[in-house]
């Protein structure tokens, strides 16, 4: 990844955010470069979703500011921001009776006004977003009737239809089984590679984050604990510090991305010994 000298897509300057006067993050500086996939990681309550919400102008900073393309995001008209920045909150809910098409069409909202109402172009974009997320066959189905993976893809299709260069995704893989998690993250990476979208997301799974991100930002104790390429960031020392996790890190045999294996506690170790004894006696008998 070459760092261009241009202004970052998103920048936090001296950002403090939190709820009810309790700052979760204090005086944080962070820049997100164009065309990259950045993932925020951290233990529960570390403020990774909070940071994403501040970047997405959903949460008002207590102090400091967020810049989008170098301009304060909260001073720009909301609709104008929405043409450049799309956000997908954690586990959104569509009202009963909302079809995939209904949902995806909403993504065209920032491009419309009374002067420029719904046009054939908007219809084209909505159809393409549905096709790109592989939902063409279920486009007229109720979102509530879809499988978890399909439902999440429908929400991503809404964000795709918005045609914003930057996507903020808050735990897009929550409640999905591993196959569906992969499906969603592959789609996200394709958007990044093929359309040059800048992606900033929050994930829980460290190994998946390492596999699908250019850059990891680990948050801990109100600030940034580590920031960089996955193999630089995910070290046993960092895992210990930010997650309180004793673990070893190996290159994953498929992609070479760092893979985390937690160390055994006493109970795990005794189980392991039992298994070895059983295997050994089985070998003796054989």
């Amino acid at each position: 990844m070459t760092t261009p000298p241009s202004t970052p897509v998103l920048e936090a300057r001296g950002l403090s955010v939190g709820y009810d006067r309790h700052p979760v993050l204090t005086d944080l500086d962070l820049r997100v470069e164009r065309g990259t996939v950045t993932t925020f990681l951290g233990a529960n309550g570390c403020g990774k979703s909070t940071l994403l919400k501040a970047f997405g102008r959903v949460l008002k900073p207590q102090s400091g500011e967020v810049l989008l393309d170098g301009a304060p995001i909260r001073k720009e008209p909301n609709r104008q921001v929405a043409r450049k920045l799309a956000i997908l909150p954690q586990s959104p809910v569509a009202p009963a009776g909302t079809s995939v098409l209904d949902l995806v069409m909403r993504g065209r909202n920032p491009h419309q006004s009374w002067a420029k109402p719904w046009t054939a172009d908007d219809a084209d974009v909505a159809e393409q977003a549905i096709a790109a997320t592989g939902l063409t066959d279920v486009a007229h189905r109720d979102v509530a009737s879809l499988s978890g993976g399909q439902r999440q893809r429908a929400w991503i299709a809404l964000v795709v239809a918005q045609q914003a260069d930057t996507l903020l995704l808050d735990e897009p893989t929550t409640y999905l089984d591993l196959a569906h998690q992969l499906e969603v993250l592959r789609l996200v990476r394709r958007l990044n590679r093929e359309q040059g979208s800048t992606v900033v997301m929050v994930l829980h799974d460290l190994s998946l984050a390492a596999r699908f991100s250019d850059r990891l930002v680990v948050l801990h104790d109100g600030g940034v604990a580590a920031d960089g390429a996955p193999h630089e960031v995910l070290t046993p020392a960092l895992l210990e510090r930010a997650f309180g996790l004793h673990a070893r890190v190996f290159p994953d045999p498929v992609t070479g991305a760092p893979m985390i294996v937690p160390e055994a506690d006493e109970h795990d170790a005794s189980l392991h010994r039992e298994r070895e004894t059983v295997l050994a006696s089985a070998a003796d008998l054989g």
């Binding site: 929405a82 569509a94 069409m105 419309q112 109402p117 219809a123 549905i130």
Partner: protein, 358 residues
């Protein structure tokens, strides 16, 4: 990508306004049908009375071709009542559709979240306290009730919204607070009635049932003006309503100014409800039932506003016809709509529980 490509609407049909008005044949035809029903009920409502006037004459005099004794009965006596009924139904139906969409809950109606009770307190106070002073002309009263009802509704809405707000509106919280505020306001209404002179208390309690029997052109005009202003604005918020119901974060994400939208929707619902309540009293359950019927007819994810309004007009007109034609004495229209609406509420609550416990 397998199968035939999906076709998004937008290439044919209505292209006025943003997404919300994208072409939906089912909504369109039900809206046309309910408009037809309203027109038929208006003609019937004028035709039926102590003397039957043939619908042909009714239509002729409505368009100004007929002059004579029948025309006098029609335009001076019967038409105001029928128009008030239609407008009350229209405004309550749209107000209910607005609040049900906004709270994402069929229970989130002006009746339940306190707006109607607030309007009732205002109106009863205007009748009882205003009428108590001497030489209050009926002109002042007819102007006073709408204003007092609107103020009462606004205050109730502000209190419910203020108490229900916790960094965002949760519909259950809003509804529970609304029920509490409604109960408090109803107690205030009862107090006013108990303290009032018997004649005024009787007038106020008749009004509280929801009745069209004492309407005149002076009750039509304020309602017509409010409807003429607020209904087009409400229809223009349709697209924003559809986005707002996806939740605050998604709505912000696609460019909706959520706070401004929320205030506008509440203000519209309050003004529409207050105008209806001022004209005919709190006609029960219209705002609650009609949007849900519209939703089920249209098969959409929220009640279509215009359809809800027209169905509301049809319901109130039909209930008024029934009250005049089917009973030996005049039953107030609010009692009939309540008799229809209350079982529906019970059914909806039972079904809601089942859905939640599944």
């Amino acid at each position: 990508m397998t199968g035939a490509a999906v076709r998004a609407p937008g290439r044919a049909g209505v292209r006025i306004g943003p997404i919300g008005l994208a072409w939906r044949p089912r909504v369109f035809w039900y809206t046309v049908a309910s408009l037809g029903a309203v027109l038929v009920l208006v003609v019937l409502g004028v035709a039926i009375g102590s003397t039957w006037i043939a619908p042909g004459i009714v239509v002729r005099s409505l368009v100004g071709l007929e002059t004579g004794p029948d025309a006098f009965i029609i335009t001076t006596l019967r038409l105001p009542r029928v128009l008030t009924g239609a407008l009350v139904g229209l405004t309550l139906g749209i107000a209910g559709a607005l609040t049900q969409t906004f709270t994402r809950n069929p229970l989130g109606t002006p009746d339940i979240i306190g707006v109607t009770s607030g309007a009732s307190v205002g109106a009863v106070a205007a009748i009882v306290l205003g009428g108590g002073t001497y030489s209050v002309s009926s002109l002042v009263l007819s102007g006073g009730i709408p204003v007092a009802a609107t103020i009462g509704a606004l205050i109730a809405a502000a209190v419910v919204y203020g108490l229900g707000w916790r960094g965002g509106v949760q519909s259950y919280r809003l509804i529970l607070v609304g029920i509490g505020v409604s109960a408090t306001l109803d107690a205030v209404t009862s107090y006013l009635l108990v303290r009032a002179k018997i004649t005024l208390a009787t007038a106020a309690s008749q009004w509280l049932v929801g009745s069209l029997s004492s309407t005149s052109w002076s009750s039509v005009w304020p309602l017509l003006i409010v409807a003429a202003v607020a209904v087009p604005i409400a229809l223009a918020t349709s697209a924003a309503l559809g986005i707002g119901q996806l939740g605050d974060e998604v709505a912000t994400g696609v460019g909706l100014a959520v706070q401004r939208h929320r205030l506008l929707v509440i203000a519209l619902a309050v003004v529409l409800t207050a105008a209806a309540v001022a004209a005919a009293g709190p006609v029960g359950f219209v705002a609650f039932v009609v949007p849900q019927v519209g939703l089920r007819l249209a098969g959409t994810n929220r009640p279509p506003l215009l359809l809800a309004g027209l169905l509301g007009a049809a319901l109130v007109l039909a209930a008024d016809l029934l009250s005049r034609a089917a009973f030996p004495w005049q039953v107030p229209v609010g009692i009939i709509t309540t008799v229809i609406g209350a079982p529906y509420l019970i059914w909806l609550l039972i079904r809601h529980r089942k859905e939640m416990s599944r």
